[in-house]
C-alpha cells in the first residue's frame, strides 16, 4: 500500500503531504527566529548603549537585493515548470543557486571585516591620553567623543545626551586595526607569544553613524601607533564575545546563513537530478520545487527583517 497524497492533493484539505509538512516546519522556524528576535529586543532594551552603525550598509543593501532576486528566480522557476518550460525553469533554478552562493560569499567578506577589526582599552588615564594625543593629535572632549562614537557607532549628540559627560580616557574603547590584519587576536594569545608591543592603526574619528557637520578627520586616517602590551587591559576583535550586540548579530546572521546554505544544497540536488526527475514525474518535481521555494522565501523573509533591525536601527 503506497502512501496517498504524496503528489496529488487530498480532497478535503486541498493539499499534498509535503506542502503540509513544509508549512508546519516553517511554523516552527517562525518560533525559532521569533525567540531570537525576542532575545534581541530584550538585550537591546536592557543595554545602556546599543551600537548602531557598525555594519557595512552598502554591502548589506546589495546582499538584500541578491536574496530578493533569488526569491524571484525561484518563483519564476516554479511558474515555468507549471507552464511546462523545463529548460527555462532550469536556468532560473541555476540563478537561484548562484544568488545563494553570492549571498554567502558576501556575508563571508563582511564577517572577515569584523574579525579583523579591533578594540583596545588602556590601563590608566595617562597612557590612554598619551595614545589619543599620538593618534589624533589631541585628547580633548571632541576627540574623546569621536572615539566614543566609533565604539558604539552612535552620533555625538546621542553620546552627550545619554552620558551627560564622556567617560574618562581609561574607559574609552578605541577602535582600529592591527598591522597585517590578523584574525581573532586576543590579549591572552599575544601574551602567550610574549609580544611586547603591537602596532595599532586607529580608525578615523566619527566613523559611525554620520551626523551633519561631524565629518571624519582625514589627516589622522591610517596612522600607525605602537602600543606597549603592558599598557593594555583589553583587546578584542569584533567577535561574538565583544558585546551582546555582536553576540546576537553573529547568532542571527549565522543561523540565517546556515539556512541559506541548507536551502542551496537542496536546490543543487533538485538542479542536478532535475532532468531525469522531470521526465519521469513532472508533477512531483514541480511540487518539490514549490516546497523548496517556500523554504527559500521564508529565508528571504527572515532577512527582510534582519537587515533593517541589525543594520539600520
Amino acid at each position: 500500500m503506497e502512501i496517498p497524497y504524496t503528489v496529488t492533493p487530498r480532497k478535503d484539505t486541498g493539499l499534498y503531504n509535503a506542502k503540509v509538512g513544509i508549512w508546519l516546519f516553517l511554523a516552527s522556524e517562525v518560533m525559532l527566529f521569533g525567540a531570537l528576535f525576542s532575545s534581541y529586543v530584550l538585550l537591546r532594551v536592557g543595554a545602556p548603549f546599543w551600537p548602531e552603525g557598525l555594519l557595512n550598509i552598502p554591502i548589506g543593501t546589495f546582499n538584500t537585493w541578491v536574496l530578493i532576486t533569488s526569491s524571484v528566480t525561484v518563483v519564476m522557476c516554479w511558474a515555468n515548470l507549471k507552464l511546462g518550460n523545463f529548460n527555462k525553469a532550469r536556468v532560473y533554478l541555476g540563478l537561484t543557486i548562484l544568488c545563494a552562493l553570492g549571498f554567502v560569499g558576501i556575508k563571508t567578506v563582511e564577517y572577515n571585516d569584523k574579525f579583523t577589526h579591533y578594540t583596545i582599552r588602556f590601563t590608566n588615564d595617562v597612557t590612554a591620553a598619551a595614545f589619543l594625543k599620538e593618534a589624533y593629535g589631541n585628547d580633548d572632549e571632541a576627540t574623546r567623543s569621536g572615539v566614543f562614537a566609533n565604539t558604539y557607532g552612535v552620533p555625538d549628540s546621542k553620546v552627550v545626551a545619554k552620558n551627560k559627560e564622556l567617560p574618562p580616557p581609561r574607559f574609552l574603547e578605541i577602535t582600529g586595526h592591527l598591522e597585517g590584519n590578523p584574525h581573532f587576536v586576543t590579549l591572552k594569545k599575544l601574551k602567550a607569544k610574549n609580544a611586547e608591543t603591537i602596532t595599532f592603526i586607529p580608525d578615523a574619528l566619527n566613523q559611525g553613524k554620520k551626523e551633519k557637520g561631524a565629518a571624519p578627520d582625514p589627516a589622522h586616517d591610517h596612522k600607525k601607533v605602537t602600543v606597549k602590551m603592558s599598557e593594555l587591559v583589553y583587546l578584542s576583535a569584533y567577535t561574538p564575545q565583544r558585546n551582546t550586540y555582536f553576540a546576537i548579530y553573529f547568532t542571527l546572521t549565522g543561523l540565517h546563513a546556515a539556512h541559506v546554505i541548507g536551502g542551496a544544497l537542496v536546490m543543487a540536488y533538485l538542479f542536478f537530478t532535475g532532468r531525469r526527475w522531470w521526465q519521469k514525474a513532472p508533477e512531483q518535481y514541480t511540487n518539490r520545487i514549490e516546497v523548496a521555494g517556500l523554504f527559500w522565501h521564508f529565508v528571504d523573509l527572515v532577512w527582510i527583517f534582519l537587515f533593517p533591525v541589525l543594520y539600520l536601527l
Partner: protein, 608 residues
C-alpha cells in the same frame, strides 16, 4: 472500488517486494511500527537508567556522607579517572550528586517519557488508528529516531568526559550553567546542549510528521470527530512540540555560544566568581534563559501528560464496554489545554521578583488551564459509571492513573498561586507534585499502554499474574515515595541538596526555629527504601515483557480486547502497509454496547 484497487496493489507489491535484510528491516527501517518499537525499547532503557541515577542519589540523601554499598564501587569503576574526585571511597560527592540530579531530570523528560509517550506509542498506534498505511514522511521518521538516538548517546557520553555530566539541574539556569565547570572548556554542559539540540531536532521532525499524518492520511470516512481520543491527544502534543521547542533550541544555541565562544547572552555585567571578575563582556540577561526555557518547559508538562490521558481514555472505553463520557468535551478540553499551555510559563518564575501585574496574569491563566484538565479527569471518571468493568492489567494501571494524576494535579494549585508558591517554591513539595503527575501518572498510563497494545505488536498477551504483581507493588511503592515528600516540602525541606537537608536539620542546628525536625529528616530513609523497592518491583515487568514475546498466551483473534478502533482491525502483527483492505470508517471511535447491535462492540469500519 478503492478497496479492489488496493488489494490488487498489495498483491502486486507482495510479489515485487522481496524481504529486506536485517539492517533495513530493524535498524534503518522506515516502517512506523518498527520505528515505534525502536523508540519504545530505547526509551524504556533510558527510563531504567534514569531511575538508577536516582536510586544512587537516594542513598546519599538517606545516608549522607556514607559510602554507597556495591553501587559506589561500580560507579567509581565506570567513571575511571574521574572517580577520585567524583566518588572518593564510594562516597558520592556533591558534584556527582548534582550531575546525577541534572541528568535524571533530563533523561526522564527528554529521553524516556516524551519518546515513549509521544514517539513510541504515537508511531505505533496513530497511523493504525487513523487507518493510514504509514506515516506521511517515512524517511523523516527514521531520521527523527536517529537524531533521538544520537542525542541519547551524547548525553550518556557526557558522564565520562573530564569534569563529568552537566550539573546545573535539568533547567540549566544561567549563569550557573555556564560557570559550573570553569576548568574544562568543553564540559558536561556543552554536551548537554549539543544533546538537547539533537533531541529537539528529533522532536521537531517527529511533530511535523505526526501532524501532517493526522491531517492528510486519515482513512475514508475518518472525520475529525471520529478520531479516537488518543489521536487527538497526539495531535495537540505534536503542536506543543512543534511550537514550544524552537525557543528552547534558540536558547540552547545561545547558551552554547556563552559556553564555547564566551558570549554574554545570559551573563549579567559584573559577574564575580570565587572573588574573581569573570572575563566576559556582560550585559546579558539570566532571566531571558528562564523565559525561553519555561516557554518550552511548561508545554512540555502537557507533552508528558496528554498522550497518557489519550492512552487511558482508550483503555477505559474498551474495558468499561461503553462509550467515553463526553467525547466532545474531551476533545475541546484537550485543544484548550494545548492553547493555554503556551501562556502560563512564568508561574515557574514567581520568585524571580516579577511585578504583581504580570504575576497576576500568569496566576490567572494557570488557574484557567486547570479547568480543562479537570474536565478531562472528570469525564474519564464518569466513563466508569455504569460500565461492566474488566479488571485486567492495562485497566488496573489506567484506573490507578486517575487518582494519581488527580493528586498530582490538585497539589499543583498551591504552586500556581504566587502567594503560596513563595513558601513552597523549590521544596520537596514541588518534587512530590510533579512526580505524582509524571511517575504514578504518566508512567502508569504508559505501562497500561504497553500491556494493552503488546498483543497487537507481538500476537501474544503479557502474563496477567506477573502484571498484577507489577501493578500492586508499583502502586504501593510509588505512593510511599512521593507521599512523604509533600510533608517534607511543607516542612521547608529544599530540593537539590546533596545531604538530604541535614545541614538545615534541628540535629545540626539545635534550638533554631524552623530547622527540619528528626521526623522529617528520617522520612528520607523510608522514601529511599521505597524507591529501591520500586526498582525491584519492575523485575516482574521485565521478565514478563521478554518472556511473553515468545511464550505468552497467543491471541485468539486479531482483536483480542474486542475493541472498536481501527488498530485492532488489522492482521496481527500488522504487516508493512498495515491494512489488508483499505479501511473505510462508518462510525465514531467508541461504539460499545450499541443497542440492537450483534455484539457489544461495533468496529469503526463496520458499516452496519
Amino acid at each position: 472500488m478503492a478497496a479492489t484497487h488496493s488489494t490488487t496493489h498489495t498483491a502486486h507489491e507482495a510479489h515485487a517486494h522481496h524481504e529486506p535484510g536485517f539492517w533495513r528491516k530493524y535498524i534503518f527501517s522506515t516502517d512506523h511500527k518498527v520505528i515505534g518499537i525502536q523508540y519504545g525499547i530505547t526509551a524504556l532503557l533510558f527510563l531504567f537508567f534514569g531511575f538508577l541515577l536516582m536510586a544512587a542519589m537516594r542513598w546519599q540523601i538517606a545516608y549522607p556522607g556514607e559510602p554507597i554499598p556495591v553501587a559506589g564501587k561500580i560507579i567509581g569503576w565506570l567513571l575511571g579517572a574521574e572517580a577520585a574526585t567524583m566518588i572518593p571511597g564510594g562516597i558520592m560527592s556533591p558534584d556527582l550528586y548534582n550531575a546525577f540530579g541534572a541528568m535524571h531530570g533530563t533523561i526522564m523528560v527528554f529521553l524516556a517519557i516524551v519518546p515513549l509517550a509521544f514517539a513510541a506509542f504515537g508511531n505505533y498506534v496513530v497511523p493504525l488508528q487513523i487507518g493510514a498505511p504509514d506515516m506521511a514522511f517515512p524517511r523523516i521518521n527514521m531520521v527523527s529516531y536517529q537524531c533521538f538516538f544520537m542525542g541519547g548517546v551524547v548525553m550518556l557520553a557526557s558522564f565520562f568526559i573530564p569534569g563529568g555530566a552537566a550539573r546545573s539541574g535539568w533547567t540549566s539556569y544561567s549563569p550557573l550553567a555556564s560557570m559550573a565547570d570553569l576548568t574544562n572548556r568543553v564540559d558536561g554542559q556543552t554536551f548537554w546542549l549539543i544533546g538537547m539540540v539533537l533531541l529537539i531536532t528529533s522532536s521537531l521532525l517527529g511533530a511535523v510528521n505526526f501532524i501532517a499524518t493526522i491531517i492528510q492520511l486519515r482513512a475514508k470516512g475518518m472525520s475529525w470527530m471520529r478520531l479516537p481520543f488518543f489521536v487527538w491527544a497526539q495531535f495537540v502534543t505534536g503542536f506543543l512540540l512543534l511550537l514550544a521547542f524552537p525557543p528552547l533550541e534558540a536558547a540552547g544555541v545561545m547558551q552554547l555560544m556563552d559556553n564555547v565562544l564566551d558570549t554574554s547572552f545570559f551573563l549579567p555585567s559584573g559577574l564575580v566568581i570565587s572573588g574573581q571578575p569573570v572575563d566576559v563582556s556582560g550585559g546579558g540577561s539570566p532571566l531571558l534563559w528562564q523565559h525561553l526555557f519555561w516557554f518550552l518547559g511548561h508545554p512540555e508538562v502537557y507533552v508528558l501528560i496528554l498522550p497518557a490521558m489519550g492512552i487511558v481514555a482508550e483503555i477505559i472505553a474498551c474495558n468499561t464496554r461503553k462509550p467515553l463520557w463526553g467525547y466532545k468535551a474531551l476533545v475541546h478540553s484537550v485543544l484548550a489545554i494545548g492553547f493555554l499551555s503556551f501562556i502560563v510559563w512564568a508561574h515557574h518564575m514567581y520568585l524571580t521578583g516579577m511585578g504583581t501585574k504580570i504575576s497576576t496574569f500568569f496566576q490567572t491563566t494557570t488557574m484557567i488551564i486547570s479547568i480543562p484538565s479537570v474536565i478531562i479527569l472528570t469525564a474519564l471518571f464518569l466513563s466508569l459509571w455504569g460500565g461492566s468493568i474488566r479488571f485486567n492489567t492495562p485497566m488496573l494501571f489506567a484506573l490507578a492513573f486517575l487518582p494519581m494524576f488527580g493528586i498530582g494535579g490538585l497539589t499543583g494549585l498551591p504552586l500556581g498561586f504566587n502567594a503560596s508558591d513563595i513558601l513552597l517554591h523549590d521544596t520537596y513539595y514541588v518534587i512530590a507534585h510533579f512526580h505524582y503527575v509524571v511517575a504514578p501518572g504518566t508512567i502508569f498510563a504508559l505501562f497500561a499502554g504497553i500491556y494493552f497494545w503488546f498483543p497487537k505488536a507481538t500476537g501474544r498477551f503479557m502474563s496477567e499474574g506477573l502484571g498484577r504483581i507489577h501493578f500492586v507493588l508499583s502502586f504501593v511503592f510509588m505512593n510511599l515515595i512521593f507521599g512523604p515528600m509533600f510533608l517534607q516540602g511543607l516542612a521547608g525541606m529544599l530540593r537539590r541538596m546533596s545531604d538530604g537537608g541535614a545541614a538545615y536539620s534541628l540535629a545540626q542546628n539545635p534550638g533554631i526555629e524552623g530547622a527540619l525536625s528528626d521526623a522529617i529528616i528520617n522520612l528520607n530513609k523510608g522514601v529511599s527504601m521505597a524507591a529501591w523497592g520500586l526498582g525491584l518491583s519492575q523485575i516482574p515487568f521485565i521478565i514478563n515483557f521478554f518472556w511473553s514475546i515468545k511464550h505468552g498466551k497467543k491471541v485468539p483473534s486479531d482483536n483480542p480486547w474486542q475493541a472498536t478502533t481501527l488498530e485492532w482491525q488489522t492482521p496481527t502483527p500488522p504487516p508493512h502497509g498495515n491494512f489488508a483492505v483499505e479501511p473505510e470508517v462508518h462510525r465514531g471511535p467508541y461504539d460499545y454496547s450499541v443497542p440492537g447491535a450483534k455484539s457489544d462492540y461495533s468496529p469503526q469500519n463496520q458499516s452496519h
